[in-house]
Symmetry: C2
């Protein structure tokens, strides 16, 4: 077939060994003793990861720009400068005790794609842009998908700048301190499409022995901050009826979240991941507990029902224990379907390569979910061991990484070279 | 009556104003914005409190010695050096967000006793020793009543030295860094008796409008450290049945502790005061939770029943959630009755002064509980507002402080001047 179709690029093969080595090099930055990674967003370690990524991109002749929220864009020109670029990538920040592949895989696989093109001397019709989004994890400043959220206009830049970590350092201060508060305006620019390769972070692909997950969209989510206030008192002298124990209240709400999740069966998600007790002394009845609550579900109606029922049930628990409850909804987003054409293209390329694949809904939030609001988007999943992620033991097989990178490569090239109507 | 009987000292009156001013001076050391005190044991602030106390004692002509665990003893000679000294005092350390009077009252009232004797030029038959025990609260190193425990031979000095705070600083390092690792051997010396004045830290005296609590003993206690281990996993992708959520397990155990307490009615005490979640990220199912558990009861048999039932019930919760539980019993002590003669003396002196009084069991642990194992001991309680303690809002009335100090003074003098068989 002719140059406008994906077929021309069929035989471009990514280099599995080079991909794996690059993944391991990145994993060495912020490596933990247990074999994981601690590369919290906008820290000195994140800066080292970013600097390393920039160096590798520039070595491949890419032009790296940074926007005002620290998103990094590495551009490779196309034959037709008038065409909108094809975007791909993911994030380089990690959880406090995260794995080597969550985020890094999508970025490093994008680099491998570029290296494969350069090696083969292939020029694409449309420009290509490899993206590293800022603070996908949300574990330092409490708001995930920050960089892509600002880029997509979902989250205002001043609000993002003002967020502070537990030491009171704001996002803006952190960006300045590591030198990644860029010149470029932090807003979306015209793009043809966006593709993101990521580990599944769940057990499905591994259980069904599939190589590739064709991600059709992401589930709905609602996140809360909760503060329960009772009264500090002496653990030895305060009789049961005189107690206003905020931790007992939190315990019952944690159990409520778990029961509401289980009531939804396999699709249910409900988690209290973060909790702080005050004054946190072993012989003081706790007077205050602060904790996070989140629910997720593939179906908007189910999530809406949860978001309706949960605050009332939590308030009832607080009332019974004479505690005051402040429940703040941090954000709620609807289930986000991806672009049918991009989804079809991922399915088609996986098929062409003979990779076993299945359609899957993303359980996690991803930058792709926000980018999808502005640009036709799809995601590619590969299996991870035991479905384990946000864990230092997170692991994948090199051949799975290679398969995912190959599908990413094929899909991006097909899109960048497609005939435009 | 003659010089050997308490009567001689009847008309020695403590100075309520001087007592209150001295209490407020001490409260200024480590004062918190909310009107409480943060004077954690063996910190720089504790050092300032100790130095201030030493200065005041030496100004009254007392000889201050410090033992190897940092207990401070301020000695006033008696007419008969062959007599064993009468001890009294309490502790100057506080909870992380503690009140002005928990501990400080007993020490400062002891100082007021000395000042009253000096002012009146009264010499006692037996020597007097005012004590400031190290680390009564246990909130920094996790073991309360440390100084009196080592002194009474309940807790070995090397074990105490090895305890570390959350920053890894050991008790021995902390003692050295503030210069209070003393020369004197940390073990009990011959003593006639020990009297400790303290706020009730409970609601009973205030509710019954009594001035003085005649403390007949302390309730039995058992303290645990618990570690629940599950598996960190992604909050968005891990299905309910695949979860091993350590925080859900902790929540159910916290509820169990609360229910076991309430099942004992008014006398029941069960508290989880300290809890830490790992990795403590809002979108990670928690893989580990560490927390404290304590139970108290006036009746040894009831406490034994709790200590028998609780570990099994907690293990069952862990098993059901596929979590591993490590439950370490830190210590258990039996209900400690005080000395009948000392109790009678407190009752008698309160009666002589016309103060309304009642017998009461201490809900809290106190240094007196360990001292009582070696020396005839009694305690004197006064009311505190709303029974509130281990709280910055802890408060008492000056007239209650004065009444308590007067009873302490009368009882100590009676004991120091009594005719010996």
């Amino acid at each position: 077939m002719d140059g406008g179709t994906p077929t021309r690029d069929h035989n471009l093969r990514i280099d599995p060994r080079r991909l794996w080595d690059a993944l391991m090099d990145m994993a060495a930055i912020g490596a933990t003793p247990k074999g994981g990674v601690r590369r919290l967003t906008l820290t000195e370690v994140d800066k080292r990861g970013r600097d390393h990524f920039r160096k590798l991109c520039e070595a491949e002749g890419l032009t790296v720009t940074v926007d005002a929220i620290g998103n990094m864009f590495a551009r490779r020109p196309g034959r037709d400068p008038s065409r909108k670029p094809v975007l791909f990538g993911s994030h380089l920040d990690s959880q406090p005790s995260g794995g080597k592949f969550d985020g890094a895989l999508g970025v490093i696989a994008g680099l491998e794609l570029i290296r494969t093109l350069n090696e083969a001397g292939v020029e694409t019709e449309a420009p290509l842009v490899l993206c590293n989004w800022t603070d996908e994890e949300g574990s330092r400043f409490g708001h995930s998908l920050m960089g892509s959220g600002v880029w997509a206009g979902v989250y205002p830049l001043p609000k993002a700048y003002a967020l502070a970590d537990s030491e009171g350092v704001t996002v803006e201060q952190a960006l300045e301190s590591i030198g990644y508060k860029g010149e470029q305006t932090a807003e979306c620019f015209p793009a043809d499409s966006y593709f993101e390769l990521h580990i599944e972070q769940g057990p499905i692909l591994e259980a069904e022995d599939r190589l590739i997950g064709i991600v059709t969209g992401a589930q709905a989510q609602v996140w809360y901050d909760a503060v329960l206030t009772g009264r500090d008192s002496h653990a030895g002298t305060t009789p049961p009826l005189a107690r206003r124990d905020a931790l007992v209240g939190a315990a019952r709400i944690i159990d409520l979240v778990d029961r509401m999740m289980r009531a939804r069966g396999e699709a249910g998600r409900g988690t209290v991941g973060q909790l702080q007790v005050l004054p946190n002394s072993r012989n003081v009845v706790p007077g205050e507990v602060r904790f996070s609550v989140e629910f997720r579900h593939p179906d908007d109606a189910e999530l809406a029902a949860i978001a309706e029922a949960f605050p009332k049930a939590a308030q009832a628990i607080a009332d019974e224990l004479r505690l005051s409850l402040t429940l703040t909804e941090l954000f709620r987003f609807a289930a986000q379907p991806f672009d049918p054409d991009c989804i079809a293209l991922v399915a088609e390329t996986a098929k062409r390569r003979g990779f076993s694949a299945r359609k899957i809904v993303s359980g996690a939030g991803h930058d792709a979910v926000y980018v999808a609001r502005k640009v036709p988007t799809a995601m590619i999943f590969i299996p991870c061991k035991d479905g384990l992620s946000h864990n230092e033991e997170e692991s994948i097989l090199p051949e799975h990484a290679a398969a995912g990178a190959q599908v990413l490569c094929d899909a991006v090239l097909a899109r960048a070279n497609r005939r435009l109507a």
